[in-house]
């Protein structure tokens, strides 16, 4: 059975990152990689501890996370509602889908100059960029998820006396859920990318701001630390998305236990 294979051990996926970190440390200590080019993991951790003690680390991480959550919530809600209406009501689809598809092809980070002119470099600029980036993947996946719900199940629901609302909550929404979750997972990635760029260009706080200031003072350890922070936050949000998948798709054998 699949379950008993040795590589199904929970720790196994962490083997590769651990080996890479150890290798990195060893190469740094042997001076094969100069610490002005790339500080060793221990130096990065030390920088982290230093900033944690002054309280800077928590502050910047908190601000970035707040932006990510607010931007994701706004963009996600707009994308989800648009996908919902366009997937269920043909009138809305005809009215808005073409326009949305057109706007979607613009890389949302190309809006940065415009956004800075509109909102300055305040909070709303970053939240706006995240929201725009998040909106489209959620919209597209919600829309196609609803469009691809098994018509036969909907017909069955009608024959078996389900009301429109019951059809929606019992068949259409759960049927679209796998796609919606793919959208959420993808959108979480977009969230952090948008935030990194937005915070590097104009900000007075946040992880991106930390990176830019550290660059100006040539603090390599902090620059690398910020990259690691983004990686951790990204992995954390992906983990949350995975938990959602397990929760909502537990009926699907592919998500049942590995």
């Amino acid at each position: 059975m699949k379950k008993n294979k040795w590589y199904n051990n929970q720790l196994f996926p962490w083997l590769l990152p651990i080996v890479i970190v150890i290798l990195w440390q060893v190469l740094g200590q042997l001076n094969l990689i100069k610490s002005t080019m790339l500080p060793t993991p221990i130096e990065v951790v030390e920088a982290g501890i230093r900033l944690f003690q002054t309280g800077e680390l928590q502050e910047h991480v908190y601000i970035s996370t707040e932006r990510a959550v607010i931007g994701f919530a706004i963009g996600g809600a707009v994308g989800f509602l648009l996908g919902l209406f366009n997937g269920t009501v043909l009138f809305f689809e005809k009215l808005t889908d073409t326009s949305i598809q057109m706007i979607r092809t613009i890389p949302h980070l190309a809006l940065i100059p415009l956004v800075i002119l509109w909102f300055g470099i305040g909070e709303s600029a970053k939240i706006f960029l995240v929201a725009v980036g998040v909106m489209f993947p959620i919209y597209i996946n919600t829309f196609s998820g609803i469009k691809n719900v098994d018509r036969k199940l909907i017909e069955m629901g009608k024959v078996y006396g389900m009301s429109k609302w019951q059809l929606f909550t019992n068949i259409i929404l759960p049927g679209a859920m796998p796609n919606i979750l793919v959208g959420i997972r993808y959108a979480l990635g977009v969230t952090w990318i948008s935030l990194i760029v937005a915070e590097t260009i104009g900000a007075d706080a946040g992880i991106g701001y930390m990176a830019t200031t550290a660059r100006e003072f040539m603090q390599m350890d902090i620059v690398v630390l910020t990259i690691v922070l983004y990686a951790i936050l990204g992995k954390l949000s992906d983990f949350i998305a995975k938990v959602c998948e397990r929760r909502f798709l537990k009926w699907n054998p592919a998500y049942r236990k590995h």
């Binding site: 024959v159 078996y160 009926w251």
Partner: protein, 231 residues
């Protein structure tokens, strides 16, 4: 319970005439089978009776009692169980409560599986759940759209037996669409042969239940089969 009356029913999809001049009166509580080659219009006829398709010409009426479209249920070719609902919740849909659902599952012998997911069941078990779901709302009319076509021979015989038993017990009006003539003769009071959208034969089956494959059984079978093959 109620019956069904079709008068000069025609159905076309664009230029494609699928049903023409169908006159049938189906009394309440009877068991009728509709057989024919694939593409003869038998599934469309069933969908018309269920109200899933409108007639192009003629009329469809529900007779012999208080007729409500909501009391018609269909058992489809595929089980159409909702994959994200447990077996019990699959049966308890459209106004059926848990207790009624459990009773229906009990009747098809699957109450032990009520907490399982549909994909954990075999094909035959899934169709039994679909039958339970159809019965749970105590329908007046139950339409079978080749529900046993995908099952193996043994499971199929078991299901035929179960359907006959439940029909005798609850007395709903049944219409079975099938391409299996022996299944039709086994279950129905009356077999209608459909070809190119029209009725070719309307045959009473006057056999004692439970039915054995005796000489009279096979002679009915042969007569119907000849009609289908000969057109």
């Amino acid at each position: 319970m109620f019956g069904i009356e079709l008068k000069k029913v025609g159905k076309s999809f664009g230029d494609n005439e699928v049903l023409r001049d169908i006159n049938v009166s189906i009394p309440k509580g009877s068991f009728t089978a509709i057989v024919g080659k694939s593409g003869c219009g038998k599934s469309t006829l069933l969908r018309v009776i269920a109200g899933l398709e409108d007639v192009t010409s003629g009329s469809l009426a529900y007779t012999d009692g208080e007729a409500k479209k909501s009391n018609i249920r269909i058992m489809f070719q595929d089980d159409r169980l909702i994959p994200w609902k447990s077996i019990l919740k699959n049966v308890a849909i459209g106004g059926v409560d848990k207790k009624e659902a459990e009773e229906a599952l009990e009747k098809v012998g699957l109450n032990g599986k009520k907490d399982a997911w549909p994909d954990e069941l075999s094909g035959g078990q899934k169709q039994r759940v679909a039958l339970a779901r159809a019965l749970a709302s105590k329908p007046d009319v139950l339409l079978f759209d080749e529900p046993l076509g995908a099952l193996d021979a043994l499971t199929r015989m078991e299901m035929q037996h179960l359907i006959e038993e439940l029909w005798q017990e609850q007395n709903f009006t049944s219409i079975l669409v099938t391409h299996d003539v022996s299944e039709a003769v086994h279950l129905a009071d009356r077999v209608i042969v459909l070809d190119e959208g029209g009725i070719q034969l309307d045959q009473e089956i006057d056999l004692q239940r439970p039915r054995e494959r005796d000489e009279r059984f096979t002679s009915y079978e042969k007569k119907i089969l000849d009609k289908i093959v000969g057109g």
